[in-house]
Amino acid sequence: MTSSQLNELSTSTVANSTEVPLWKQDGAEPFLKIENVTKMFGEFTAVDNISLDIYKNELFCLLGGSGSGKSTLLRILAGFESATSGRIIIDGVDMAGIQPWKRPVNMMFQSYALFPHLSVADNVAFGLRREGVARSEVKQRVAQMLDMVQLSALGKRKPNQLSGGQRQRVALARSLIKRPKLLLLDEPLGALDKKLREETQFELINIQEELGVTFVVVTHDQEEAMTLATRIGVMSNGVIVQTAEPHVVYEYPNSRFVAEFVGSVNLFEGKVVEDLPDSVRIRSKEAGVELFVNHGISCAPNQTVHMAIRPEKIKISRNRPEQTENCIQGIIEDIAYMGSLSVFKVRLANGKDVRVTQPNFVRDMGARFTWHEQVYLSWDMDSSVVLTS
């Protein structure tokens, strides 16, 4: 990734962010409509009555752990599994009974599924040849596609002569050559090492914007989902728990599951003692103090709720901070030095551990907090989220 490409990337995202995205516009026609789709394997419900609208040019991430049903949903979109009930509509066409080889959809497989007996160029050309595209056009389009994924020099190689990153790019080129309306990607970066992943993430976004293809990506890696997605659908047990933009999923999770699955979080169980329209006060045994949140919530009286606070939003100090709300005291139990930041495990008087991260501002180790030091933890009252489910 060159710096000019990076610039291009940042300007294009800025340009996009000024427009109102399609999913926020009233009456916008979704490109992919998933309507009440259920998939049963015997007694097991893999996908449980999912409805989801995905719009043109979106890069939608289905995020979930293994067995959450995300891959099954992807396979239903590709046509490899048929839904037990419900409808899939792609660009206005109901996909019921349409075989995989007739769908305007291509898939990039997690294992890449490159044909081992064919060269890179033949792998990429496979889809066009099935369409009966003229030889000269096949040649030209394959060359163009290989150029885009920077593999022009390796067209004659066999897949087993390529590195993992090169295979990934062949798989991408092969799935894009038919210019599908919808590209499904199953853990596209799963098999790559960390550095290559970061590079490829940006390449994927570039290609997606350049070609204007709608992407649906399945991943279990929340970091991957965060960087790639226009929107994320967090899946668990065959259900989409939350559908929102990445920053909304992270900053405003709608449930304990989402808060814990995306990033790490500290949860304090408690009961609402003061429920005003624009603020709540929570009495929490776990925190040892009353917690104050400056936004209203909707919950039943006396309902047990959880207050969630992200580790990076907690301030840590040796002296008692000036604020009186949301301030607790503890002892540093453990420190993980991670280079750019440090993770502290702070034990409260009642034994609860709180996770706090802090950027390493200073180089001098001596000035930093150390083991068994008594510290104060505090956070702003708008930093936390109250979760009722």
Binding site: F80, W101, F109, A113, P116, H117, K178
Partner: protein
């Protein structure tokens, strides 16, 4: 920069160790392990081959053993004669009978191999695609006939194919035919015998190749617009090629030299080199001629096999 220099030091010492290992000279432990199968091959394959080759270069004689000695000592005159007779080989080419037998053998073996492949492929495919628990059962069914003697199984086919055999009885009783078919003692019966007998040798390597195949490749092909039958010819079949080659060699090679099946099921005009060999040895008692036939058969068989293996090896080295 203490860390990089440290790792360089480790590298150096590691390569030093490797050099030390190599410089120890002959590894006797390794040598003795290889020596056992080497000795076996030498005693039971290479030396007998030389003996047969030597006999093929002598003349037939009414004696025990029934061929002339290669080296003759005349002690009184104090000289030795060393006689090599290439006449047997020349005769192989002079009399078209032998050439016909070779060609006919290769033809019968080729046709049988082809049909074994046609019959074996679907069976291997079925086994490879069935549930793992089912595979064990199906594979043992394929191997089950080996529990009965090969000879008995060929005899059983005589019972099926003869004039008043089971097949004819059935066809007559259902009224499909009104005259019994002549099946026994024809080339047709030989094909059936070979296909039946060698089918497991075709199925097992095919199964291994098909079972290894990653099934998501078929989904990838479908996803790219290929119908199932196209996927079969474009993906499954090419990936099964190593199994097809191995299976065909395992059937073709023994089928060329087959003796029992043409003798029991074939007619008097079924000409196969195995029968010619038998006749030369046991009827004509012409050991040198029989040896020459055997040597030529070996060359005819070994050469193409070596060429195929060589080509395959090169391709594998490439990829």
């Amino acid at each position: 920069m203490s860390i990089p220099s440290g790792s360089a030091w480790i590298d150096k010492s590691a390569s030093g160790m490797a050099r030390y290992n190599l410089s120890r000279g002959v590894n006797w432990g390794r040598f003795s392990v290889i020596a056992v199968p080497g000795l076996w091959l030498g005693i039971f394959f290479f030396i007998p081959f030389l003996v047969v080759f030597k006999i093929s270069l002598s003349e037939s004689a009414i004696a025990v053993p029934p061929y002339s000695a290669m080296l003759e000592w005349d002690l009184e005159e104090a000289y030795a004669t060393f006689k090599l007779n290439f006449g047997n080989y020349l005769y192989l080419f002079e009399d078209t009978f032998y050439l016909d037998a070779y060609i006919s053998s290769v033809k019968i073996a080729s046709i049988s191999t082809f049909f074994t492949l046609i019959v074996g492929f679907p069976i291997a495919y079925l086994i490879a695609r069935s549930k793992p628990s089912m595979r064990v059962v199906l594979l043992s069914l394929v191997i089950l006939p080996f529990w009965t003697s090969f000879l008995l199984r060929v005899y059983a086919w005589m019972g099926f194919l003869k004039k008043n055999g089971i097949v004819n009885e059935f066809l007559l009783s259902t009224g499909i035919i009104d005259q019994p078919l002549v099946m026994l003692q024809t080339d047709f019966a030989v094909y059936i015998g070979i296909v039946y007998t060698y089918l497991p040798f075709m199925i097992l390597p095919l199964y291994t190749a098909l079972e290894k195949m990653d099934l998501t490749l078929l989904e990838a092909a479908e996803d790219l617009g290929s119908r199932p039958y196209q996927s079969f010819f474009l993906v499954t079949l090419p990936l099964a090629v190593p199994g097809i080659i191995a299976g065909c060699l395992l059937v073709f090679i023994p089928a060329v030299g087959e003796f029992v099946i043409p003798a029991l099921l074939g007619g008097s005009d079924t000409l196969m080199i195995g029968r010619v060999l038998w006749d030369e040895f046991f009827l004509n008692r012409d050991w040198p001629m029989a040896s020459a036939v055997a040597i030529v058969m070996l060359v005819v068989l070994v050469l193409p096999v070596m060429l195929i293996r060589n080509a395959q090896g090169k391709e594998e080295a490439h990829s």
